[in-house]
Amino acid sequence: MGLNENITTSHPRSRMSLRGYLQMYAVAARQAIIEQLQYPAANMMFMVHILIEPVIYLVVWSSVANSQGGAIGGYTAAQFAGYYIIWTLVRQFNLAIGPHGFHWRIKEGRLAAELLRPVHPLLPDLGYYLGYKVPQTLYWLPMGFLLWLLFKPEISPDPWQVLAFPVVLMLAFFVRFFFMWLLGLVCFWTERVDALFELYFAAELLFSGRLVPLEVMPAWAQNVANFLPFQWTFYFPIEVLLGRVSLAEFWPGVLIQLAWITGGYSLVRLIWKLAVKRFTAVGS
């Protein structure tokens, strides 16, 4: 127990140089890349597993749009196609450690070992999931191209929107990363987490633009979404590349993303301190 407290109270920053941190990130990222390139077939299947969800939405909403004379909620069928194809790329980027992964790591006692390292376990996670984007993007390219051919989307961004997209995409990852971590921390208090996780994912589905562009959702859902971080992880980056976000909407959006990142990070720090005090490992 004393050992754990040591780790939370000591400041690793005072021990490790910036170079040390960068090296640590690089190692974690390389590990992710190597792991992912090892199983190409499994990864392709995982990709199909991820792609089937937006393809279903795409087909449903383009048929609805077509049945209503070509457009609903300001989206044409081709724009729906564009929305969900960008969705698949955004999904690759906002993938972060799920709360189930966190649950597993506590249950299997992995966390005990991670706590012994001189860095906060959050940091290798961050490096790992950043590195993870490299092979995932590679696997995504042929799939994205295929979807493009099959569904003929209409995507019309201005040059600045194309340049801004990678930025909001990374910010979206950080928002989601911290909130996923936060959700994972619940496992320190209770074992029965499945229902809570599902509640969280149901909320994310409805209020993030993951299911359908928020503009198409009823007004009450749009209002609720404004109080939650979810739309900044799906809807906002997608809309930027789709060319539907004006410059006047863009900057406030980025600021809100940064605000959620700061909020999420502060909460993680706060709750982590409480959580580690509760943590006891058995054995080694």
């Binding site: 499994a42 299947m45 089937i52 279903i56 087909v59 049945s67 209503q68 609903i72 099959l150």
Partner: protein, 262 residues
């Protein structure tokens, strides 16, 4: 013919005895199923707010499809999928030997071992949704309708069992196939909507490769009076073929299996 059913009854009893020790799990399942049902209904409602029909299906009929989808998900989730996971785990760990040495047909044994009883909550919810849909459609009950619905439902379940087992059998050759299983489970989600709305290439896949069409859309067609006797006969033949192929591949896989202790 009756022996598999007797075995199933025996294992089901053990599963029930095992599970009723953990009653809290029941409430967790109710919570989770209720949540996913609620989300599904909200989605349907958003679609309804824009259109009255989707691919030629009215609102009440779409609700019927959703009811069949939930019902079938519950049946497969409680009776089939847990068995497949247990089987793949056995192959990986080399424990299948224990099953093979028992004096019963091995395919039957691995198919009936586990019943995840709490997942049957979804069966109840699915039936509830179906009842509402049937009431809204103003359906006139007839023997033909009842027979067509019940038989297509059973055949749909057998077909899903076949493809899930086919995927699991691959673990005889490739030890790691759980990604394939996960992929198939996410493809099943396509069944929330009538397969007629999907583009041709996808509809063919959803019909013959992963028979979501037979498992959900066809029973819903039976219920809404869209099913022709020809389609019913075709479904029957396809089910027989699938059962035959699955059996052959099971035999082939067994020959390829070398146990951990042997």
């Amino acid at each position: 013919m009756l022996r598999p059913l007797k075995l199933f009854g025996l294992f089901a009893r053990i599963s029930v005895l095992n599970e009723v020790q953990y009653r809290a799990n029941f409430f967790m399942q109710v919570l989770q199923s209720g949540l996913s049902l609620g989300t599904g209904l909200i989605v349907l409602n958003v679609v309804y707010s824009y259109t009255d029909t989707l691919g030629g299906w009215s609102q009440a009929e779409l609700l019927a499809i959703y009811g069949v989808f939930v019902l079938m998900g519950g049946l497969i989730g409680s009776l089939v999928i847990p068995n497949m996971w247990a089987f793949m785990e056995d192959v990986r760990e080399g424990r299948l030997d224990f099953t093979l040495t028992k004096p019963e047909d091995s395919q039957v044994l691995i198919s009936v071992r586990v019943v995840a009883i709490w997942r049957l909550v979804d069966v109840v919810l699915g039936i509830a949704v179906l009842s509402v849909a049937i009431a809204r459609m103003g359906l006139e009950a007839s023997w033909w309708l009842a027979f067509a619905f019940a038989s297509t439902l059973v055949m749909g379940m057998i077909l899903l069992y076949c493809v899930l087992l086919l995927a699991s059998i691959l673990s005889f050759w490739f030890v790691r196939v759980w990604e394939l299983m996960e992929m198939m489970q996410s493809i099943f989600q396509a069944g929330r909507w009538p397969v007629g709305i999907y583009p041709d290439w996808l509809r063919l896949g959803l019909t013959y490769l992963i028979p979501v069409a037979f498992a959900v859309t066809v029973p819903a067609e039976a219920l809404t009076g869209r099913l022709t006797p020809q389609l019913l006969a075709g479904t029957f033949v396809f089910t027989l073929v699938a059962l035959f192929i699955t059996r052959r591949l099971w035999m082939l896989g067994l020959r390829n299996y070398s146990g951990a202790s042997a």
